[in-house]
């Protein structure tokens, strides 16, 4: 049989192939998802088992009788409550500080004319070329001399400004139509009010992305908090995890609980601010 009309048999077999293809695709996706998420999953599971169950073979992959005690142990005896509080404080200071200084600097670069503008902008970009790791030697001395060793200031102040944030926000401010600035200045809005009422609200997606990016960076810091703190009063949660994992191998469930506690804020952040996070991270990638 020739002709253009496909035979019912052929259509049926094509449909079957399409369904099969779809199933294969889902299988592949699911397999990859399981592999990626398994370490996280097993962490949660282990945090709900007793140390004996964790060490038993074959391993337990599902907690039939979850034991939540590990969380309170990690929280209290493991000092996770202090670590978390410290991390929250330091991260909040850094995030707010970075966003604020970036807004101010970006506004100057986008809307004002002043001598040495280009040179200063190059200077801001130059900060991106210096990895923080390179500056720790003198920074540690500086912080110590300032009397900020083992303090919130010591943890946060070096990170209160970034060339990257200023650069990113300047790009966003340059998108603000110049007519808006002109209209506002006729209407009597000076720079400060134009910045707070027009420029920043219009750049809100970038501000949000930058905030998420700053939050992530501050929360995940490891080297500097390790250098600049000496006791649990100021240790952040990342350093706290090191303490927790090195002290309690016989309480490995507590370590896992600590890991879950430490990761939880970012998981929540990822779920709520997925869009901004993606924007922030991809913008951050261009930074390199």
């Amino acid at each position: 049989m020739h002709g253009d009309a496909p035979s019912p048999r052929r259509t049926a077999s094509r449909n079957r192939r399409r369904v099969l293809l779809k199933v294969l695709r889902y299988l592949l996706l699911t397999f990859l998802a399981v592999v990626i998420v398994f370490p996280l999953y097993i962490t949660v599971v282990n945090s709900l088992l007793s140390p004996q169950q964790i060490a038993s073979r074959p391993p337990t992959f599902f907690p039939i009788h979850p034991q939540w005690g590990s969380y309170s142990t990690a929280w209290d005896a493991g000092h996770m409550s202090e670590y978390m509080l410290n991390s929250v404080i330091v991260t909040a200071i850094i995030t707010v500080g970075q966003v604020a200084t970036a807004i101010l600097a970006a506004y100057a670069f986008a809307f004002l004319e002043f001598p040495l503008k280009r040179a200063l902008f190059v200077l801001f970009l130059a900060t991106l070329m210096v990895p923080f790791e390179v500056t720790i030697i003198t920074n540690l001395t500086t912080i110590t001399n300032l009397g900020w060793y083992n303090s919130y200031q010591g943890l946060a102040v070096p990170f209160l400004a970034t060339g990257f944030g200023a650069f990113l926000l300047r790009q966003a401010f340059l998108q603000v139509p110049p007519d808006l600035k002109d209209a506002a200045s006729i209407d009597g809005y000076g720079h400060w009010r134009f910045m707070t009422r027009v420029a920043v609200p219009l750049a809100r997606p970038t501000v949000a992305a930058l905030s998420v990016f700053a939050f992530l960076g501050a929360w995940n810091q490891y080297l500097w908090p390790l250098l600049v703190t000496k006791d649990d009063r100021y240790r952040t949660v990342q350093i706290g995890l090191k303490q927790l994992s090195s002290t309690s191998l016989d309480q490995v469930n507590v370590t896992f609980a600590g890991v879950v506690i430490a990761a939880l804020p970012l998981v929540v952040l990822l779920l709520i601010f997925q869009k901004q996070l993606v924007r922030g991270l991809t913008a951050g990638a261009v930074k390199g």
Partner: protein, 367 residues
């Protein structure tokens, strides 16, 4: 209420002279249209009144006082931008209210003013929308409402209609004229559209290359363009211009000479000849409005019909002279039209001729 005066104002951006030695008086309560082709410096002139640009030379007065050193916000002017410059993140209400917020206006008073402005432009039902949820025409009204809400001394408008479609533009034109009458304020209106200039302005000021070319009531400018540029810029289709050598025809009863165009000579009336003689011009350019160029059975210039454009109420007959120059005759659609390819004789009433100096391009007055 106040007038605006430019006194020998020049504005340079680096090497570019955007406005060149501009002197212009805008009267109180006048609707003045600043007209000119793209890049001629209209916006720059307007922005200097607003205080958004500083003049390089000269002074600008609003009312009786020199405002060169007065900040934009203290000049008591309002501006409507071509882009409308609405704040995208604010509702219509907030946008209209915006200029009042910096001026110490009590909040109930503010509300009343916003309401009045919105009402006079038919925006009451749109107050809670964001600019993105409005049509182009509605956005334009919000921009106007924001300008009128604080009753400024002077309104500045920079091509406020250019983003509207043709029909809305005609309608809004009429509304703007009415609005200006009601508010009885000075309006300085920038456009490159000569129809807007002709229909809206009490006077029009025509600029080219940063220089003022002519100021006057629209009809006066149309009837007596000061130079070739204005003649070509005002009127649609533009004035026909024909250039040719001055030919002495001593025997001609009408005058002592005419303009030679491929064999024929267009005779000039005696008054014109005297004027040309007085001016000392070596060559001249003749200008004829298309409506004054009539096809006839004999005499005049011989031409071939190249294209006929029918606009419904009138026809534009494009004709090619023997030496290749193109001229346009405008006929009402009730008149009989020639056919394409037909040879026609184009005649003109000598009194409707405009004469320009071929070198300076200035009009030669013939009265």
């Amino acid at each position: 209420m106040a007038g605006v005066t430019f006194d020998r104002v020049t504005k340079c951006f680096g090497d570019v002279v955007a406005v060149d030695d501009l002197s212009l008086d805008v009267f109180d309560e006048e609707f003045l249209v600043l007209l000119g082709p793209s890049g001629c410096g209209k916006s720059t002139a307007l922005r200097m009144i607003a205080g958004l640009e500083e003049p390089s030379e000269g002074t600008i007065e609003i009312g009786e006082s020199i405002v060169n050193d007065v900040e934009a916000k203290d000049r008591d002017v309002a501006m409507v931008f071509q882009s409308y410059a609405l704040y995208p993140h604010m509702s219509v209400r907030k946008n209209i209210e915006f200029p009042l917020r910096t001026r110490k206006v009590a909040s109930d008073e503010r509300e009343k003013l916003v309401h009045d402005a919105a009402e006079s432009l038919g925006l009451e039902t749109l107050l809670d929308r964001k600019p993105a949820q409005l049509s182009g025409g509605q956005r334009q009204r919000v921009a106007l409402a924001r300008a009128i809400v604080r009753r400024p001394k002077v309104f500045l408008m920079d091509e406020p209609l250019s983003n509207l479609d043709a029909k809305l533009r005609v309608q809004t034109r009429a509304e703007l004229i009415e609005l200006q009458r009601e508010l009885a304020t000075t309006v300085i209106y920038v456009t490159h559209d000569q129809v807007e200039g002709m229909t809206m302005g009490h006077r029009i000021a025509i600029m080219a290359d940063g220089k003022l070319q002519q100021v006057g009531p629209p009809q006066a400018v149309y009837d007596h363009p000061a130079n070739l540029f204005v003649a070509g810029f005002i009127g649609n289709p533009p004035m026909n211009t024909v250039s040719g050598p001055i030919v002495r025809t001593a025997s001609d009863p009408a005058g002592s000479f005419g303009i030679g165009v491929e064999g024929t000579v267009i005779p000039l009336p005696a008054g014109h000849c005297a004027a040309i003689e007085r001016s000392g011009a070596k060559t001249v350019v003749l200008g004829v409005r298309p409506e004054h160029l009539r096809p006839a059975t004999e005499g005049g210039l011989v031409a071939t019909v190249a294209v006929i454009e029918s606009l419904g109420h009138e026809r534009h007959v494009d004709c090619r002279l023997a030496d290749g120059q193109m001229v346009i005759s405008r006929l009402s659609s009730s008149e009989p039209a020639p056919l394409v390819g037909e040879r026609v004789n184009l005649t003109v009433d000598p009194l409707e001729l405009h004469i320009f100096d071929g070198v300076t391009e200035e009009a030669i007055e013939t009265t």
